[in-house]
Amino acid sequence: MATTEVPLPALPEAHEERAGLVDYLITVDHKKIGVLYIFTAFAVFLFGGVLALLFRLELAQPGMQVMGQNTYNQLFTIHGTVMVLLFAAQVSTGLGNYLMPLQIGAADVAFPRLNAMSYWLYLFGTLVLLSSFFVAGGPAASGWTAYPPLSDSKYLQGTGMDLWIIGLALAGIAAIVGAVNLVTTIFRMRVPGMTMFRMPLFTWGILVNQLIILFAFPAITAALAMLLLDRNFGAGFFDPARGGSPVLYQHLFWFFGHPEVYIVILPMFGIISEIVPVFSRQPIFGYRALVFAFFGIAALSFGVWAHHMFTTDAIYLPFFSLLTMLIAVPTGIKIFNWIGTMWGGAISFTTPMLCAIAFIFVFLVGGITGVFLGSTPIDFQVNDTYYVVAHFHYVMVAALLFAMFGGFYFWFPKMTGRLLSERLGKWHFWLLFIGFNVTFFVQFNLGLEGMPRRIADYPERSWGTYNTISTVGSFIMAIGILVFIWNFFVSLRRGRPAGDDPWEGNSLEWVTTSPPPHHNFHEIPEIHSERPAFDLRHRPPSEADAR
């Protein structure tokens, strides 16, 4: 018998469930690993949020002293680091882990054990970084970008900065390993009939997001290794006195750092592209245009890294200015297509749909202010002011949060078999929407009036009112997040049963049970379009009877 031809049978104990935490410790099931990613990332988000509330208190009034200057530096450094690198970049990996194999009809990912290893490396990286709170001197205080010389051993002593480097290096390795796994899964494990151009747009978002991770994360991992060598082993990569250059670090950091924005946001585009057609009762408008917009944005994201370095006088400004403005084209296509999908549709304003509409609004504000920053004269004027802080919080935070929460409300029934409460969901949505805009819209004014970022205190009284408003807004947001947490726990125990397809969804995950079985599908329908679940519901009656 040719043994290689025979598919391996599952071992007898393969589907034995173990109790509680042990099950999660040894699991290689993509759904459980996805849940682990989502919970860890959300815990990191809560931690980063608490840090933000603390330094918003410090900034609430001029002269207010909640913490010392160095503590302030440490808190905004760790806030930025954990929010951008350990929450925003990872929560989409969690959602992708859970949903993407379901959407392409696979029983699991291509490398399940490697998938588990990727999660554990991410968790250990996070713990190593956060352990810096317990060492002498405390955590890193260089800002989340860790530019030398602010981050070198002459100006920042103690092991806090080194733990920051090691923690991020581990998370970077985890991301690369995870990307190899997810890209291979999408390329090689689609169910027969699921061609690339029949994949759901969320899966496209995950594919492009993971491709960017594959090409961008090696740059930051290299930069971190060089920084560690500079600090601990006498190298001089970034030290001009020894022939190095701090600008080299900035190039490497931003070659990763700008694509990172799209690592965060492209899966969110995918989520919005799933939610909008379902709650507009229309097919997505311009499916292929949306796919190519994904690639257009991803490609351009690798050509704009130095727009973060306009004021270094070490780059060719017109090249980066032009490409930065060009990004608005594929992004505009997406917004046009989402509005086109809603146009004439029977829109139902459920919480996921409200989140999707809010996403379009805040991303538009963030995108337009980004085009202003792409213009070098304006960038020179507002560089390193609160205008930049407001801009990237609209792009990175608001857009991410509304899409992420929209995704949670949309797929929570699939993951748990229960619906989140709509009433609490609406409270959560409005508190978050109002709180966010109160917090960050005034920061555009602060920036235009010249308030620099990364200062613990400020003398001018005219900035005080804006800062007070901003701090009040941040606490409104926090109340909104608490409402969501309450909703989560209440609905998990007493939520309304959802059934397999509560929203009448389009993609393949809505065909299986809620929650899905260990092997994902008992049966898979034939795939004839990018909306297999819709096709299944609306197939001709004669065909349905024949089955």
């Binding site: 393969a14 040894i26 696979a106 554990w120 070659f255 490609a299 690798f302 898979i524 004839h528």
Partner: protein, 165 residues
């Protein structure tokens, strides 16, 4: 050419073209190298996929179709399969502690770069043990699979060719 290879080759093309343009407008070496590497890495992976597709006897494509696919205009999607009952949906691996152990070892080993050699040795040992356990677990699952495949079915039923019944 498959759509997967076309995706990678498109990224590669962007890397090479933008790298060349960037060099001539800026003469800045680091960004140029980064963009050219962005061209080289996916290009290499894309060519491997093209070659693998050919080796597996994939349908040959005219040059025009290849160029159209690269430009993002693939031929119309084929119809879906008629019956999925015979398709193997894969075998799921067993739960295992080894990815956790290997990751823990790697984390300790890297932290040793700050705190000293003893942590590197300890972490390296745990990572090596974890890797060994990982490979042994895969080997065990594969061996079990082979044994199952080589065994006759538990209840083969009557053989119609046997005269003595």
């Amino acid at each position: 050419m498959t759509d997967e290879a076309a995706v990678l080759l498109r990224v590669s093309l962007f890397g090479f073209v933008s790298g060349i343009i960037y060099w001539f407008v800026s003469y800045e070496p680091l960004g140029t190298v980064a963009l050219l590497l962005l061209g080289a890495g996916p290009g290499f992976a894309g060519l491997i996929l093209v070659q693998a597709h050919r080796r597996q006897g994939g349908a040959a494509e005219s040059r025009g179709d290849t160029l159209r696919r690269l430009a993002g205009i693939p031929p119309p999607d084929p119809p879906g399969p008629e019956d999925l009952r015979d398709d193997d949906l894969g075998v799921l691996p067993l739960p295992t502690i080894w990815p956790f152990a290997t990751s823990l070892g790697l984390a300790i080993m890297l932290t040793g770069l700050i705190y000293g050699l003893w942590l590197i040795v300890l972490g390296g040992g745990i990572a090596a043990y974890g890797t060994w356990g990982w490979l042994a677990a895969i080997n065990r699952e594969n061996r079990y699979g082979r044994i199952q495949a080589e065994q006759p079915p538990a209840n083969p039923g009557p053989d119609p060719d046997r005269a003595d019944g």
